[in-house]
């Protein structure tokens, strides 16, 4: 399989990350890519931004112009795990039935942090293969810890590929009827005592997972391959607030620990476009008091927003002098979809992908 261009947009909440990711994907599609936009954000923002229903199966979205294609994927946190597990256990129906009946699995099924991300990534891999996608934009969860999931597949693979599985499964056998503590080592005894009766479910879960270990590890290798290749492109997204700035700093540090250098910073609402008409109205001598009031508010807003935006631009230029900044305009519209279309014009794909 030819590797697609992989783009990961990450940042704190409320910075317009989903809108920026959707605009990026739309720009890719317009310049000829078969692009896929994936949202891990459990909110329905992506569906709203694209103006369509999206779900666990990737579907094609319409383009107004350009010769590429755009697909969208937004798994529901509620079904993502189920879909993922059914995929893993496709050849082991009996093990699947036992797993679905495991108390611990049932407790995990309710959206647990981490699981949704891994499930989404595995669905992304499937969508890439199915639709021969050559560019993927991943919109991560709205949290400064959003990139933690990058190492999650590796942690899971390590867990399932290591000695721990056999060891836990063995505990399961010994606790299956009556706990036979005399046959266990000290550590095993400690664990079984701490966990209580659930030790059996933990062990059960492990032995089912051990059955599909190979498939699991392979899938997780694909996942790491998608997210940890040096070619994978990371873009922190910020808006002009101190919280967003702190989140980006935190994120860049985390990425550095993974040996990942971001390609560019995406700054949302980085400037309010010139409004020449405000001056025309102010100088017309025809305004009413209500309009004067609105115009002065608009001017205040514009200068406050632009000041905040230049502060953040300067702060980032100082901290990350070689990191390019993609500054997006502040856009107002009733339809989120039209904001995405407007922003997509700011993405110069050829230039962005050269960096």
């Amino acid at each position: 399989m030819k590797h697609p261009v992989v783009i990961v947009c990450a940042g704190g909440g409320g910075v317009g990350k989903t809108t920026a990711s959707a605009a990026f994907a739309l720009a890719l599609a317009k310049s000829g890519y078969r692009a896929l936009i994936v949202s891990i954000d459990p909110a329905r923002r992506l569906a709203d931004a694209m103006g369509v229903e999206l779900g666990t199966q990737a579907r094609e979205l319409s383009l107004d112009s350009g010769n590429g294609q755009l697909f969208g994927l937004m798994p529901d946190p509620e079904d993502a795990l189920r879909t993922f597990v059914e995929f893993l256990f496709a050849e082991e129906p009996e093990a699947l039935a036992r797993l679905l009946d495991n108390r611990l699995y049932r407790a995990l099924e309710a959206a647990v942090p981490g699981i949704h991300e891994v499930a989404t990534i595995s669905l992304t891999w499937r969508a890439i293969t199915e639709h021969e996608v050559d560019a993927v934009v991943i919109d991560t969860a709205p949290s400064r810890n959003a990139v933690d999931f990058i190492t999650y597949p590796k942690r899971l693979a390590k867990l399932l590929g290591g000695r721990a599985v056999g060891w836990m499964a063995a505990i399961g056998k010994r606790t299956s009827v009556v706990p036979q503590e005399d046959k266990m080592g000290r550590v095993e005894q400690l664990l079984v005592r701490a966990l209580g009766p659930v030790a059996r479910d933990v062990a059960g879960l492990f032995s089912e997972m051990a059955r599909v270990r190979k498939r699991f590890i392979l899938l997780n290798e694909h996942t790491s391959d998608l997210l940890l290749r040096p070619e994978t492109r990371y873009y922190p997204v910020a808006s002009p607030t101190a919280a967003a700035r702190d989140d980006v700093d935190y994120l860049i540090k985390k990425l550095a620990k993974l040996d990942i250098a971001p390609r560019a910073l995406i700054l949302n609402s980085a400037f309010v476009p010139e409004r020449g008409w405000v001056d025309v109205l102010e100088e017309s001598g025809e305004t009413t008091p209500a309009i004067d009031d609105v115009l002065s508010t608009l001017n205040d807003e514009r200068s406050t927003r632009n000041r905040a935006a230049s502060r953040i631009t300067e702060a980032f230029s100082k901290r990350y002098p070689i990191l390019p900044q993609l500054r997006l305009p502040f856009v107002e519209s009733v339809e989120p979809r039209s904001i995405v279309h407007t922003l997509s014009q700011s993405f110069d794909i050829a230039a962005l992908l050269q960096r």
């Binding site: 409320g14 701490a194 927003r305 009733v334």
Partner: protein
């Protein structure tokens, strides 16, 4: 008091504002954040002496919380710090959340009688961290983990001890998510939301601005064209504001009716620069929310 909500809604400022207001009203209060302490550095620069600031590190939570489960720190290390458990803890969901809750419980136990305000980490939109104690207790049935979970429920997450403040934004989608979050907290955690804080509510423009702009756009030439632009912008803002108010009405009223009106609703104004905790404390006091 747990202050929760999705990321980017201004949770930290509201939590710090509530803690500050409590410290001023009651003499003493504790503001707890998870992570590196950046929240307080940003919004609580002039912290009064009555307000204690605690920073909890979620990555160390499991190790710290495990000692009572296994009987001692040494036994905990023996049980958890080995080839099998290290990767399990790193990979297993909910383990860390349980650790974080136990650290929170310890902070509350160390400050009897004081108001402790937790600025909870943004965990997407889930309230998984609030549910883990009940889940853990029901799942284990007996044993030290069961006891830990039961203790968390009794001392930290019980209606008598805990109150929940949900911070949200005046956006249609965010409000609907918030409603779901409130219902989940109630049904699955057994706690009710004491207060909904809707942050950054935009100011309405003067009543006749739109009509005046429409009238002006009838003028021929550049002034009329400029007025046309203003009309467009005002119409967009008007429509967005209407959407928000409708969503706010529906969500808040629906939730309020189901609950018999126990949930307080506080609207905080939009400010073009980040307000400090002191400003927010004043807004909250004026709104009767602190």
């Amino acid at each position: 008091m747990f202050v929760t909500g999705k990321g980017g809604v201004g949770k930290t400022t509201v939590a710090a504002g509530l803690a500050l207001a409590a410290a001023e009203a009651e003499g003493e209060a504790v503001y707890v954040e998870f992570g590196d302490g950046a929240g307080a550095r940003r919004v609580l620069r002039d912290r009064p002496s009555g307000l204690e600031h605690v920073v909890l590190d979620p990555s160390k939570a499991v190790a710290k919380a495990a000692a009572p489960v296994f009987g001692s720190a040494t036994l905990a290390k023996l049980a958890l710090d080995n080839f099998a458990m290290r990767p399990l803890i790193r990979a297993a969901p909910a383990v860390r959340e349980l650790g974080v809750l136990e650290l929170a419980r310890q902070v509350v136990a160390e400050h009897p009688g004081k108001r402790v305000v937790f600025d909870m980490p943004a965990t997407g939109h889930s309230v998984a961290w609030l549910k883990v104690a009940r889940q853990g207790r029901e799942l284990t049935g007996r044993g030290p983990i069961h006891d830990l979970c039961a203790k968390l429920e009794a001392e930290l997450i019980s209606p008598g001890h805990a109150s929940i403040v949900v911070v949200t934004l005046p956006e249609r989608l965010v409000l609907w998510e918030t409603l779901t979050l409130c219902e989940t907290v109630e049904q699955e955690v057994g706690l009710s939301v004491d207060r909904l804080v809707v942050n950054r509510v935009p100011h309405a423009p003067p009543d006749n601005a739109l009509a005046d702009a429409v009238a002006m756009s009838n003028i021929d030439g550049p002034v009329g064209e400029a007025a046309q632009k203003l009309t467009e912008l005002l119409s967009i803002r008007d429509a967005v504001r209407k959407q928000v108010m409708e969503a706010l009405d529906e969500t808040v009223h629906r939730y309020g009716e189901e609950k018999g009106g126990d949930t307080g609703l506080t609207l905080l104004p939009y400010a073009s620069t980040d307000p400090t905790a002191r400003t927010v404390a004043e807004w909250l006091r004026n709104a009767g929310a602190a």
